[in-house]
Amino acid sequence: MASELITEDRTRHSAKKSVGIIRHLNLGTAVIVGALLAVTVNRIATKLIIEGDETWRRHDQIVMATMLAWFIGFMIGIGALVGPTRWFFGKDLNHDEAMFLAGKDMGIKRYFRYTTDHKVVGIQYLILTIALFFIGGVLAMLIRTNLGHESGGLIPPQVYNSIVGFHGLIMIIATIIMITGPFGNFILPIMIGARDMAFPRLNALSFWLLISILPILAATIALGGIPMGWSGYNPLADQGPLGVDSYIFTIVIFAISSAVAGANITTTAMKMRARGMNWSRTPLFVFGTVASVALALPAFPVFMLSQVMSAMDRAFGANFFNPEFGGSAWLYENLFWIMGHPEVYVILIPAVVAIMEITPVFARKPLFSFNMAIVGIFGIVGLSIFVWAHHMYISGWAPLLNGPFMLTTELISIPTGLLFLVILGTIWRGSVWTRLPMLSVYALLFNFIIGGVTGIFLSDVPEDAALHGSMFVTAHFHYTLMGAGLTGALGALAYWFPKMTGRMLDEKLGRISFWLVQIGFTVTFFGMFAVGLEGQPRRVEAYDIIFKNGNLISTMGAYTIFIGMLILLAAVITSWRNGEIAGSNPWGAQTLEWMTPTPVPLENFEVLPVVTTNPYQYGIKQETSS
């Protein structure tokens, strides 16, 4: 159908006139409209909302109204409402408008518009992810600098607590989008042999929703920061400065964005696979990405709800979470962790399946036990919904539930073990082609086993009573989210970089970066495990002198990671601009994204492919197997 569209387009050159208002909308107009509306509403709200006894509520109301106005203005200015408005008046976008939105013949400008082409959205997500990691990384350096200083205390506590909160919030957003954003958007539709996502406009919407958050996040600095940490625990958040309102808005919009992206990716994978691509011929990356976003679909609305309630507490004294007036801190903790634990797997599963996609290619062997991989992924998804209260063993909420939640938590090690089996079975008796993506496979195995084992320690109720809230926990979840998650994402970046940019990622700089990051990582978090075991609480700006050495080691490791990451950034920038030109299939892989030319044409495929096998047909078929 889409190829029909192209021929149609060739015959109607003069049609550009019919592309109306959306021609004039871009990031610039979005910022202008957003800012104008924000200022206007701010003025009106300041006048209308009368100063009462509780002035803090008045300020919260004004700030929230202003942010809402910014958000609406920005989305109008970027053109998100053009399509729906037209539709409302019974006139959908015409073909030329659709082609314009897809970014046809628009060059670099399309990256600053409401462009619907999934490849543009993928690149936009990639840049955003890199930017977020950079900011989050700088914040991590500030944290480690403060803690590297003998017993801390270099940065004032109010600022330090906000830095910790920002680091957490930005890194959580970055790790959630790091694979499903860039690769789920750019690669996944090509991988299943589709011309675009199921809902191209929703795709653009999910990205621009995220961009609309950035000024709100930045405003936090002027509004007193988020000194309650990224978890936003109440009643501490209720007590916090106006920056907490920024945090609330960030979460709410992020939840909408991920719901939109999740619905889109799920529908695309369900409905738009190439002819012949039944479920047993569908690449694992598709399963994993769908599992991840589908898991986010029930999880994030709960988080969003908790923040809406928190906003009502702050602005109107609703007291959902304020125990002083009948609210419950435990209620907040439950809502938060009902999102919080599935979220760990929302981050981890795409990283693991990206690695599973890489492993057969570089080991030149079929993926081992495809079925077990799927059982593993969906086992984790199913169980992860029932483990949240292991974060609340020591909250005192329901001690009788500690046993059942210990059971579900420990059960999750079985499907997680299957993921190891699949990767190990694939590399066993295979080749080890030592290119950048393959290095990440090994790094993930190493880090994920440590992250998993330390998670088992913490699943034990009495053990958790000792270790909860200590640096041990911080080190543990960095092993899962960074050691396994980010490592998988970096492997995915090295692997799909040639397809996305048309150039190879610099192998030499990539290797230097890899070793600096991995060694730095091990040093940082072993130091942190040590001080955690010794009894250093997490999220502290100063600490007892006995923790001095471990913290110093962690800080030195962290600087090493940062240097390694800067080298990787340099490699990405230089390779993107003038790296070695990549062929359409530099790795000799079999998934469909490698069967289409590089750079990928607007409609992805000249002729839509037909699939006859699964994409892991490597090696020589033989009788014996072990």
């Binding site: 506590p157 501490l236 020591i394 079985i414 079975g425 066993w428 440590i450 088992i456 009495p462």
Partner: protein, 272 residues
Amino acid sequence: MWLMQMLSETGEDTTKQSGNRVSSFLSRRDVQQAIRAWVFWAVTLGGLGYLFIPHLMADSASKTMDIVKSTFMAFYYTSVPVAAVVLAIATQTVLHNRHTGTAPPPDDNPAIETNQMANIVWVVISSALCVFLLVWGLVVDNVVAEPSRAANATVVNVTGQQWIWTFNYPDAHKDTSELYLPVDQPVIFKVQSKDVTHAFWIVQMGIKINANRGEITETAVTPNKIGVFDVRCAELCGLLHAHMQTRVHVVSKADYEKWLANQGSVEQWPAS
């Protein structure tokens, strides 16, 4: 549905394993290499854990903390052989099957799509380990709860507020900012907060419970060592969270009685 279909498809691959096959499998060169790598990793990881972890952990001042430490070591030693399998396969492949260069390796590896025996062994072992973890957890959880059931337990009311701890001895009508406990005597802490959520943590006794506003939570322990130990707040509670700490003095029963009777301020008590 498709999942079931796929599962049954692989069922056809099931092969019978005889003792003969096992021994020929074990004598294969790559298997031998992997076993050697496994021994190396198991010994290295086990040895490092044995040498370092006990020194890294905080000292123990209660049976609860002893259990925390032994649980940590038990789980550590249980996971060593499993982690060693992962690392052994990684090591063997990296050492012996490495392919360098810019072109993909030749496509001459065995096309093994699955191995039913490997799947079964893997699932059975991980399930068995899981049962072990759960049983261990339930048993020790019951043991650390013993002090809370003691009939003669001392009760101390603990109140957290930004950013100090206050301890109230209801029997003696005494309020203090540092905790005094008699050795070998079960004590129940009734914990609450005046403002935000805190977490009451006696580091060397391995106990921790949140302090919530409007709720009373409980934890209990029997200190078994005379000395001075640390109370820290383990839940981010605002500006001076890092400084929300105080001390626990575990003293002999006689000293404790003397201290209870003493009407003077806490600060006069010598640091034991």
